[in-house]
Amino acid sequence: MANNLSGGFKAYLHRDLLIALRDRGDLSKPLMFFLLVAVMVPLAIAPEASKLSAIAPGLIWILALLATLLSIERLFSEDYADGSLEQLLISPNLLMMPILGKITAHWLVIGLPLTLLSPVIAIWFSLPISAMVPMMLSLALGTAVLSLIGAVGAALTLPRQGGVLLALLVMPLYMPVLIFGSATIQAAVDGLNWLAPLAMLAALLAVAIVLCPLAISAGLRIAKNG
């Protein structure tokens, strides 16, 4: 029984990864998006290196945020439409476990590749090499928080399938991640102590891992009754 209660994590992680890999492009898409927006920014804003590197820390974080937001919408909406959400809700596990499995899969498909890709953008925007490690650490932690918070919004907006409403709900909650995330990179660029904001991100992640699954399971049940 105990086994059963904690179960479902691996099963859902595996299934969602399989689905993401199935349309083979899926893994490369968030990366492409990340890169594309990164290309558009110098086009829209004057491309002087000094200007770009000044806004780079913030920009990288805004991009990460948008990539998460664009993709999190489908976390539950497909399951809702094809009926497999009902199966999730009646699985004899603690509801949190499958949910965390799905979120982990989302992070592996979106957050992790973004993190690994970020050095390219850093070079593009002439960020100093010394800022690479803090940048990647902050992205790894921060995108996980973004996935968790985004999933709350995705669950609550299920009956209408997100889009801009999801963005509206989730964006204000994303603020702290954005601030601490870009502060980490900025501090590293300025040669200040970047461990403090990074620790804040880690703290946010800890809080989110505990609280978000609760809100999500409540949200999913409510949405079925919507």
Binding site: S84, Q87, I90
Partner: protein, 233 residues
Amino acid sequence: MPTAFSAVFWHNTVLIFLGSNSPLTTHTVLKVESLAFERNDAVLFQPVDFELKAGEALQILGVNGSGKTTLFQLLTAILPSSSGQISYCGQPLSDCRYEYLSDVLFIGHQSGVKAALTVEENLRWMSPNNTSCEKISAALEAVGLSEYAQIHCANLSAGQKRRVALARLMTAQAKLWLLDEPLTSLDKQGVELVERCMCQHLTQGGAILFSSHQDLAQVTTRNYKLEPVVEVA
């Protein structure tokens, strides 16, 4: 055809024998007492009361919109009931939620088939963890999809999709089956197949609660009609 028929006939005979003559072997699996559901303060159906014993198949009847699907969602605790009591093997549902859910197989209107996965992956995913490969391919064979095992479910016809979901009937290890219109989109062979599966489940001591607008006289032990609430003006 004759084989299938005689099998069904035989099963039913056994069933009647078991059901009527040896009350000791059939215990109450599911008991529903004055169960009611409200949405926006409007009561949906008259309070539901029934008992489902092992070896019984109870058909829920009711016109379109009478609340059959809602009832299934109440019974799987997907929706919260407004009043009344559901008990499983004598215990109220709230006390044995996880035991209950691990004994239940629910197939709803939407069958939970993932379009991006292949037929085989879907069945594996929806079956218990320890299901053997042989069992999975036997189930696919039975629903006539062995040729489609590696096809993505997005490319199946409506009836084929339903068959993928119904293949779970052959891999699941649940005692209680809750089937909401299992026959949708199925052709005649498909309907027969489901009947056969249901009969077999009953003879093995399982219990079935299902809804359908078609008659499944060969399987159904009893039926229960959902009645609309008459408004007192």
